[in-house]
Amino acid sequence: MSWSARKVANVLTLGAWAGLFWFLMATDRTSYYLSSRTDWLVPVGAIVLSLATIGRLLSLRSPHRESLRRSDAWAVGLIVFPVVIVLALPPASLSSFAASRRSSFSSAGFTTSAEDLAEGELSLADVAGALRSQDAMEALVDRAGSDVTFTGFVTRDSATPADEFVLTRFLISCCVADALSVEARVVGAPPGAFENDEWVRVSGKFYPLGGEVIVDAADVTKVARPKRPYLNP
């Protein structure tokens, strides 16, 4: 009986991915990659991969010599490479770069019901989701001038007036690959005080105008990126 190099390589691969899933849970970083609908994949992946690693560890010895092929060695490197990237880089979320290349939430299939909008606190997703439904839009118009507080990051281009910016947040259904942007135009902000991708909390009165939501800012404060940077449906 001798050690099988091939099985050792498989154990390394399984163990690396199991380690990544445990790391995501331990550091509470799952929300940087998955939505609340799919975050169960991380604990399930961690447990099953750990069991698979242990199962493979228990049968590492082989009656005949099993060498590792060159392609297998590089395959291990390739599969472990994403694990290294996630572990080594600081947590990040989609930015204004992504907002310029993706579809927006208000054109997507999400709608907010008129009942939800009639009373209670309004969220950025509620307001943007109302733009596609006539009933919801009427309910939203009834609340024009209400006070709102939204959190998101700043997106602006060279044509944006100095005291305006677009407050943006991404909504993900499964993972970051399907992100849709949720936007509100903020007016009356301190001129030149905010840069692209800075996270801010905006308080003020909101007004639906055509296909846009305008927030007349009373207060704009820089904040840290939220622990859950994406909205979920």
């Binding site: 691969t13 099953v48 698979a52 490197g77 054109s107």
Partner: protein, 334 residues
């Protein structure tokens, strides 16, 4: 059990490549410690999409490998041989409908289909199952319903997706016809893992051998596919296809092309499809039928799993059925 005939002989080497790989990974990790990806928004976007695609898809590959290993070790081959004796007109729809009981996205169904075919199920039926499962499973249908809820095209989208998905999967199975598993499945490199069982090894060792072998084998192609999909998402803005929204056939082809590039999970693609309001029912439906069967990451997985020409067969057949079906539905609904 021997998997596929003519396994490629192993090229044994010294330990040097393994050391080189480990060294390279450590070097990458060290370099990334000093990198500031936020200064390169495109790079940051690429890394985020790439890693999130993999974090979501790897557990499904694992689930597929788990089911595949279970089938290999615990399900007797004679069961599939009996199924293979059923007439094809019955076998293909039954395989497609079996997909309803397998609620995973497209990545998980590939290793299962390979195992089913290698155990004796007709390859056409196994492929039909593989293509139908990501569309017909209840989670995907429910997410489609949620995405289009409140819109007057909800039922055409839901029923159209299920119906055309079923048709396209059966059509591919039909085209593959009576080809044998050696003609359809690609020979793997000498798969030492899979000899555990046949050499009298214990069942649990064989099970974990197949599980880890399938995970590692499919995983490497998934990494390639996710990298290409992330690059396309980063460098090709979704607005580029907006200019063809009004063109009858071109808009359908554009949405099928977009589905191919984006490589979204079938459980979430309906939300993205619904955001293309400038496109008609047919084009949005084409996105939802074509994408779960043919996309960038699946291209890599199919090429690794099936023989030369298989990917072309799937692309042409699925595209044909999707195009004709979606045009017909668009004409019908207006």
């Amino acid at each position: 059990m021997a998997d596929i005939a003519h396994p490629l002989p192993p090229r044994t080497v010294s330990r040097a490549p393994l050391y080189a790989v480990v060294g390279a990974l450590i070097a990458v990790a060290a370099l990334l410690q000093f990198a500031d990806p936020a200064r390169l928004p495109a790079a940051q976007n690429f890394v985020l999409v790439f890693s999130s695609l993999l974090i979501e898809a790897m557990p499904f590959i694992l689930l597929g490998a788990l089911v595949s290993a279970f089938i290999e070790v615990f399900v007797p081959a004679r069961m599939f041989e009996k199924l293979a004796l059923l007439p094809r007109p019955l076998q293909l729809p039954a395989s497609a409908m079996a997909g309803m009981a397998f609620p995973v996205c497209e990545c998980g169904s590939v290793p299962v289909a390979r195992r089913l075919a290698s155990k004796g199920l007709a390859p056409g039926a196994a492929v039909t199952f593989m293509l139908a499962a990501p569309i017909l499973n209840p989670i995907v249908l429910a997410s489609t319903w949620v995405a289009y809820r409140g819109r007057d095209i909800m039922w055409p989208m839901l029923l159209g997706r299920a119906g055309l998905g079923l048709l396209a999967a059966i059509a591919v199975g039909w085209v593959i016809g009576s080809r044998s598993k050696t003609e359809v499945l690609r020979a793997r490199p000498a798969d030492v893992e899979e000899h555990d069982h046949s050499h009298g090894g214990r069942r649990h060792a064989a099970f974990f051998g197949h599980l880890s072998g399938d995970f590692v084998f499919m995983g490497r192609y998934l990494v390639f596919g996710a990298a290409v999909a992330a690059a396309l998402q980063t460098f090709v803005p979704q607005s580029v296809i907006g200019s063809v929204a009004g063109a009858p056939v071109v808009s359908l082809l554009a949405m099928m092309g977009l589905a191919f590039l984006l490589s979204l999970c079938s459980e979430s693609d309906a939300f993205v499809a619904a955001s293309f309001v400038q496109f008609g029912v047919g084009a949005q439906l084409a996105f939802l039928v074509f994408g779960p069967m043919v996309d960038t990451k699946l291209g890599f997985l199919y090429t690794a799993t099936f023989s030369k020409g298989f990917f072309r067969t799937v692309v042409l057949t699925v595209a044909g059925v999707t195009l004709v079906g979606c045009l017909w539905i668009e004409v019908l609904i207006g």
